[in-house]
């Protein structure tokens, strides 16, 4: 869970120190206090969400909205579930093992899912040129084009001259 979440946040562009997972047993109140205090300090040092990352509020909102969508998408969730299943079978809970598998199995799906969700979000507000898409998402041409084509094949969007736009519902 933690590793996958981290990778998503990383792709969103957030500082990974903003998300921490830690443990304290019922008897470890002082440890708990230390965890909370340290974490608060860390966040204080980082500064407000987005600002510290150099993300303008609009981009931040867009990226997080895309991440939200991704996280409820069944394609991503199935891959995530399957990965957990695989890890349990292999009995491999070493950080390296988890990282390697997440990198191999999930990161491509996350990348693609995020980009797709961003594109959809951008297009939902009206026609956008490919250059504008490239600029807003910060992605490469070779990543964006296949997604646009796939979406248009599904009949969700269409190309009108230089710009892409959502396909009018018939």
């Amino acid at each position: 869970m933690a590793e996958v979440t981290r990778r998503i946040l990383e792709l969103v562009g957030l500082n990974l120190e903003r998300f921490r997972i830690d443990w304290a047993s019922a008897a470890e109140a002082p440890l708990f206090v230390k965890i909370v205090t340290d974490f608060t300090e860390t966040i204080k040092k980082l500064g407000p969400l987005g600002e510290a990352e150099g993300l303008d509020p609009e981009t931040l909102k867009l990226r997080l909205a895309a991440a939200r969508e991704l996280a409820s998408q069944s394609r991503f969730r199935a891959a995530y579930g399957n990965l957990a299943r695989e890890l349990k079978k292999a009995g491999d809970y070493s950080p390296e093992g988890i990282r390697a598998r997440v990198e191999q199995k999930l990161v491509p799906i996350i990348k693609k899912g995020l980009l797709e969700a961003e594109i959809k979000h951008l297009l939902s507000k009206g026609p956008v040129s490919i250059d504008a898409l490239l600029e807003k998402t910060g992605a490469n041409q070779e990543d964006i084009v296949p997604i646009l084509e796939a979406l248009s094949k599904k009949g969700q969007i269409e190309k009108q001259g230089d710009v892409w736009q959502p396909k009018a519902k018939e």
Binding site: S25, A26, A27, E28
Partner: protein, 59 residues
Amino acid sequence: MASKKSGKVLVLGGGITGVQAALDLADLGYYVYLVEKKASIGGVMAQLDKTFPTNDCSI
């Protein structure tokens, strides 16, 4: 004929053994008096920091 036996049990000692016995007896349908000479139950186990080998808090 109804039995004249009492359905209650007296457990003397509120350490981990006494507490566990009381819990199981209550679950089995008996009323338990858990009698401890100190002001609270828990015994020495409550003084232990962690227990081996799982090192969890255990209470």
